[in-house]
């Protein structure tokens, strides 16, 4: 294996060692033998870790081709660093033998770019970026190589509390929660990426202004999710989901029970939960067996409690606008008993649920027009009236024949 990772970090670190040795030679103990760690046998893992630990702004840390085994989490805390591999199928950080650490790579820094690299089989999240501005994740693959498994790590690509975030050309496979998960962030673009065999393919949560386009979400439990969760510093709104291919997301839900996505039925194309101002257009959405699109309130999330319910949390989805998508099939084998019963009762053995399934919860101070407008040819909304105990299920489109003001494009600040 070649040891060429640390373009200038390590080179700069060496003079520091020498300098410190020169300045601090006083008062040595009797033992004069230099018992330092065996410097010529530093593993690649330790070289890479040292490069990250001693990085300075502007550093480019290159990771050579090869599968590099890692036993502990990697952590980067320095702003302005780029990590660059030789390709997402060539430079692989493998955490299959990980002994410690909750992530593969944890980044607590701004102006961060990672590209052309893979992170495999981490115990927890693969790539977590916690707080930071100007984050670029480009042509990165995160994968659990055994395929869907409950004990896989939760998130593949996971920026949280970040601003100006670009995820592009990336691949996320096998996450037991979400493959690409952007949480509590602002100004986000996720494009040209592929999410496959995750519980949630791509999830935008508690995020303000996100554009999700030109992605492929397939073979997940749910393709693309836009969620709001309570108890968090920021509530999300304004997400555009367009020009994506969201097909055949029918993998059985393998999330550990308890988390939000554990409640996502297998066969969900797009799921909106408790989020506001979501625009869904120009997507190819097909063959998602529960529903091509599910719109739900927090009340349908599978759990919720009334004990000190978070102040200012809005459990209802509002301002959802669906238009000009290309739907095909789907809704033919829902992964929920009540939905399957509705399908049989209303559409027959060979029938399918309409393209849009809505749980029917409406803020008592508002009306259905505030929740959901659909302008999508023949596509129907089925209001399953979960709020009223499934008494008044309807496919009447009157309340949904409306238009909403379109959202503006997300423009990332130059960096």
């Amino acid at each position: 294996m070649t040891y060429t990772i640390t373009s200038h970090s390590l080179a700069r670190f060496l003079p520091v060692i020498v300098l410190s040795a020169m300045l601090s030679a006083c008062g040595q103990p009797e033992s004069a033998a230099p018992a330092e760690q065996p410097t010529t046998q530093i593993s690649y893992e330790e070289q890479l870790r040292l490069a990250l630990e001693t990085a300075s702004p502007g550093d480019v840390i290159t990771v050579p081709e090869g599968v590099h085994p890692m036993t502990r989490s990697l952590v980067l805390n320095t702003d302005g660093v780029t990590i660059r591999g030789a390709g997402m199928d060539k430079s692989v950080l493998s955490f299959a033998g990980q002994l410690a650490g909750a992530e593969g790579l944890l980044v607590n820094a701004s102006d961060f770019t990672i590209e052309d690299i893979a992170i495999e089989d981490s115990k927890g999240d693969a790539l977590k970026v916690n707080e930071g501005r100007n984050i670029i994740i480009r042509r990165v693959r995160t994968e659990w190589t055994r395929g869907p498994h409950t004990e896989n790590g939760a998130y593949g690509i996971y920026p949280v509390q970040t601003e100006n975030v670009l995820v592009e050309g990336s691949v996320a496979v096998g996450a037991s929660d979400a493959g690409i998960y952007v949480g509590q962030s602002r100004n986000v673009v996720v494009k040209d990426s592929r999410a496959e065999y995750n519980v949630a393919g791509i999830e935008i949560e508690n995020t303000i202004h996100a554009d999700v386009f030109n992605n492929i979400a397939t073979n997940n439990t749910g393709g693309i999710l836009v969620f709001n969760m309570p108890d968090l510093p920021q509530l999300g709104h304004s997400t555009r989901v367009f020009n994506n291919t969201i097909v055949t997301n029918n993998t059985g839900n393998f999330a550990p029970p308890g988390g939000a996505v554990a409640g996502v039925p297998a066969g969900s194309g797009i799921v909106i939960n408790a989020n506001d101002k979501v625009e869904i257009f120009d997507n190819d959405i097909a063959d998602n067996q529960t529903a091509n699109i599910l719109i739900s309130s927090y009340f349908s999330a599978g759990y919720s409690s009334d004990r000190e319910t978070a102040e200012a949390f809005d459990p209802y989805p509002e301002g959802i606008f669906i238009y000009a998508n290309r739907f095909r099939d789907g809704g033919n084998a829902p992964d929920r008993e009540e939905l399957e019963m509705l399908r049989l009762a209303m559409f027959g053995e060979e029938g399918s649920l309409p393209d849009v399934v809505w749980d029917g919860f409406v803020n008592p101070e508002l009306s259905a027009e505030n929740v959901l407008c659909v302008d999508n040819g023949e596509s129907l909304v089925i209001n399953i009236d979960a709020a009223g105990g499934y008494e008044n299920v309807t496919v009447d489109m009157t309340a949904h024949t409306c238009e909403l003001e379109k959202l503006t494009e997300v423009v990332l600040a130059a960096n």
Binding site: V16, S20, A100, N130, L232
Partner: protein, 380 residues
């Protein structure tokens, strides 16, 4: 090739070090030294905090040991904590935050284990009466972590013991240890020395600024006699001129000793959560992403986790629905997180590979004692 260049550089460096070892100046070796941030020494001994003979570790003049009401659990390691401040300087009291220490302050924490005759590490230890000397006869020194206050802020430096000295290991370390458990069983576990950046994972208690701070030296942790003995560390610091603006002790917060059964269960539990979780789970901490806040200042039951659903816990829920279900520790995510040793789901994320049985028992007892139940929210 860079690798060859690297190796060659290191050889030169080793040679330079050896030369320096024989040509360096020599002074009395007893006094504490300070270093600029670009010149931290490779050997712990160069700081002059300790005099280590191979048989005992002796604190240098001006280096004072202290301990905490309830400490962080770190795989049952024993910890010798010390503080040194430049001559004539003092820390400023704060009622709830870390004391404001003078530039030049060096805080150290030395992790060690007592050993069995067969070379296994043990969880139990009897501290010596002499507070300035630690016999290392039947002890294995693991690491000494330094927090150094520069004009620009605190720096974290992990030193790993090897032979007669400890050596700076910026990237941390992992050592497999075998522990003799009280029930006679032996358990092998990876002992983790955090990297410098991982030090920040706990010590950047405000994750937004990223500034490092000591965690232990707060009034509520120090408000006790050293090793539980008579006296009070805060008064001692004050009388030694090392602490300014200390109010009367009656006004100073005090965390419970989590092992002291005579104290309230809730107080012991909150003290445990504060020191083990609060550095990340606070309103500015790295774990504010979870909405679960566990530091001593939190008053909201919901923020403390009562009937609070998880956010991004993934497998960390253990299949449970709420962080804390009153009366039901075995349905509470918090307990699951403490009882697992899976690196991807355990809490704290850093600093342990073993389960802290005593801590788990305490928090289970506390949750069992809580009244109420978690009720499904209705939309009516």
């Amino acid at each position: 090739m860079a690798a060859d260049k690297h190796a060659a550089s290191l050889k030169m460096l080793t040679a330079a070090l050896i030369v320096l070892l024989f040509t360096g100046c020599s002074d009395d070796g007893a006094s504490v030294r300070q270093f600029s941030a670009d010149a931290y020494p490779q050997r712990l001994s160069e700081w002059g905090l300790f005099d280590y003979s191979g048989a005992q570790l002796r604190l240098s003049d001006g280096v004072e040991a202290y301990d905490l009401n309830t400490p962080l659990f770190t795989d049952y390691a024993q910890k010798l904590r010390t503080v040194w401040m430049p001559s004539g300087s003092a820390a400023q009291y704060s009622s709830d935050a870390t004391f404001e220490f003078p530039v030049g302050t060096i805080i150290s924490k030395t992790f060690f284990y007592p050993m069995t005759d067969t070379g296994l590490v043990r969880a139990d230890f009897t501290w010596p009466e002499n507070t300035r000397t630690l016999s290392t006869d039947a002890v294995t020194l693991m690491e000494t972590r330094l927090l150094v206050k520069q004009a620009s802020g605190w720096d974290a430096l992990p030193y790993v013991w090897q032979g007669d000295d400890a050596y700076l290991k910026i990237a941390g370390d992992l050592k497999m240890l075998e522990m003799s458990l009280p029930d006679g069983e032996a358990q092998t576990f990876p002992y983790i020395v955090p990297s410098r950046n991982q030090c920040a994972s706990c010590h950047a208690t405000n994750h937004t600024t990223g500034a490092l701070k000591p965690i232990g030296p707060k009034a509520r942790h120090l408000n006790r006699g050293y090793l539980g003995r008579d006296g009070n560390q805060l008064l001692e610091w004050q009388s030694a001129g090392r602490l300014q603006n200390l109010p009367v002790l009656e006004e100073v917060a005090i965390n419970a000793d989590f092992t002291d059964n005579s104290q309230f269960l809730a107080a012991r539990s909150r003290a445990y959560l504060d020191i083990n979780c609060g550095h990340c789970h606070n309103a500015q901490g790295a774990a504010d992403t979870s909405g679960l806040l566990l530091d001593a200042s939190v008053e909201s039951n919901r923020q403390l986790g009562l009937c609070k659903p998880p956010i991004a816990a993934g497998g960390g829920t253990g299949g449970r629905t709420y962080s804390i279900v009153p009366g039901e520790p075995d349905h509470s995510i918090l307990i699951y997180r403490l009882e697992t040793t899976d690196p991807g789901t355990m809490m704290p994320e850093l600093g342990r590979s073993l389960v802290h049985q005593e801590g788990v028992t305490l928090l289970k007892d506390w949750i069992t004692s809580l009244d109420g139940e978690c009720v499904e929210m209705s939309s009516d």
